[in-house]
Symmetry: C2
Subunit: 332 residues, 2 copies
């Protein structure tokens, strides 16, 4: 049975992570930037995977991780993204649905396999990623469901996927439908390199279609072409109705078009194990707060709390019930 109302509908890359250990020479050999992410084709994916150590597989994808965190917070989440009709696709679908996420995008037939992110972990615990998008890149506007968007409060888009032309067409279509039904839209920039490559294309998309922008500091610097936080704040006001700039242990700054910016403190984790997924979890808490009409400070605090859980263990999806943690903290 479907939820009548969805708090957040995510549009993102449907990807399974493959994690294995490596040394620095391995990264250099395949020109994988340490701590970074590159896109690779199937030939390079086969070469890298063939040389990788034995791995562990776990569902991933930036936006899908955020929607999993929405579900863990007790929110109603939906996801739109493309897998192939193969066993990794089944695993990806299971892992979202088993958390209660509504995920009905049809599987890709007669195309590439389900996408995977080859995550190589060096002894210094840094994670370097090489992503074969596979089926994930084949999401189109045909996968956008107007009835679902009409049931949703916020439609949330992944910057990584903005670089795929057909997916971008889908984003535009979804944004138009969200506006038609009086709903809000949100975009995470995903990576500074996305901003640099897309330039005016992404700025125009935000100006025309997006209500809420999520960026870490590096992405915000790239988007607004300045290192000055005051200038970033001013330019953010000019571009979008609401911008959240996350700053790791320095917390986050929430910049509404009108009214004062709100500073939110970071939530100290029990332990710092693995920062992967911190931004996705922050987005989940923040957007769920907005969907529930919390004020900015409380929505930001919910984001910070969710991020603190995800960085306290290995893996980018919540290991504990975020709803319980948030309830204990008096945030929901």
């Amino acid at each position: 049975m479907k939820n009548e109302k969805l708090d957040v509908i995510g549009f993102g890359n449907a990807i399974v992570d493959v994690l294995a250990k490596c040394d620095d020479a391995f990264l250099e050999g395949f020109a994988i930037p340490k701590g970074g992410m590159i896109l690779i084709d199937d030939e390079k994916a086969a070469a890298i995977y063939g040389a990788m150590a034995p791995g562990v597989e776990i569902s991933g994808g930036s936006n899908a991780n955020a929607i999993a965190a929405i579900a863990s917070l007790g929110g109603a989440g939906g996801f739109v993204g493309k897998v192939a009709a193969d066993s990794l696709g089944d695993i990806f679908r299971h892992d979202l649905r088993s958390m209660g996420v509504e995920y009905d995008t049809g599987s890709l037939e007669n195309g590439p396999a389900t996408g995977r992110c080859l995550v190589n972990v060096t002894p210094d615990a840094q994670r370097s990623m090489a992503t074969f998008l596979g089926a994930a890149a084949h999401v189109t506007q045909d996968d956008v469901d107007e009835a679902q968007i009409a049931r949703g409060d916020i439609s949330f888009f992944e910057g990584y996927l903005f670089e795929q032309p057909h997916a971008r067409d889908g984003f535009v279509r979804a944004c138009e439908l969200a506006r038609k039904h009086g709903k809000r839209t949100a975009l995470t920039l995903s990576d500074a390199s996305v901003v640099e490559r897309q330039g005016a294309t992404i700025t125009d998309f935000i100006r025309d279609h997006i209500d809420i922008v999520l960026a870490n500091e590096a992405e915000a610097r790239a988007l607004f072409d300045t290192d000055n936080l005051s200038v970033i704040t001013e330019k953010a006001r000019a571009l979008a109705p609401l911008t959240a700039v996350t700053r790791s242990e320095h917390g986050s700054i929430l910049v509404p078009r009108e009214g004062d910016a709100v500073e939110v403190a970071a939530h100290t984790p029990d332990a710092l194990e693995d920062t992967t997924g911190a931004g996705d979890a922050y987005a989940a808490g923040f957007l769920l707060g907005l969907a529930r009409d919390y004020d900015l400070a409380r929505a930001g605090a919910l984001g910070a709390l969710a991020a603190s859980e995800v960085i306290s263990h290995f893996g980018a999806r919540p290991a504990a019930s975020l709803q319980q943690l948030a309830s204990d903290a008096g945030l929901i």
Copy 2:
């Protein structure tokens, strides 16, 4: 390039583990015995998986875990087992080959998917398994390669797979070839329930074909129908040229047909995290020692060391180089 000589060739279930958390009520609902293993068909697998929490996938299979440990010890290992031509099959194959294991069994076409073991972990850290064999059950004598057996020192068979009639025919064929080429054979009983179900069939198979029997205490009790260790020892001598009985923290007893039994102390792990795979790792060290003509005490100590590494962390395959650990301990 193939190794000219293989220390151990394993014949076992080619299976990927899917690990997720659950509560006791979940196990009861699906009649999964706590801490045990049941075989399930595809319909029940779909029902259990559909109800399971988000999971993590990692290559498994008892015998394959042992062969991975052989490779980690620096030995030359081969594996014979059946996956389907699907992404989980690719993952299983990669994870063995990336350790240097020779694994060339053809993938199953037009049959069930790659086998998987649904591992549900309760809050008390017990692992309860429901296994859908899928393609793994379809290994036959056609998958036995005489040239490979002739290059191997010990052919090692998994008791779980003994219950599949076509696989058992393959075991018999492989044993006949091993004898023809003057090679040794080994069998692990896998589980007391296998012994109970198979009765005289497995006893006869051992008497006719097996040089080395590996059993934990429960399996040995089932096989010899007695709780008395002295009687077990006597009956073991009568049945097989060499029997190893593993007794967890009480170490192991090695019983040659002629000469004194040898007691081997357990190797205390750095931490006790997860006992899954302990028997497989013991088998790896012990059989590699025999392949290298170590005396019984040294081969048993190598098995105990390998087991101590595998139980010190989550997961049934070695996380550290067993070769390095064994070298540090002066065992190889």
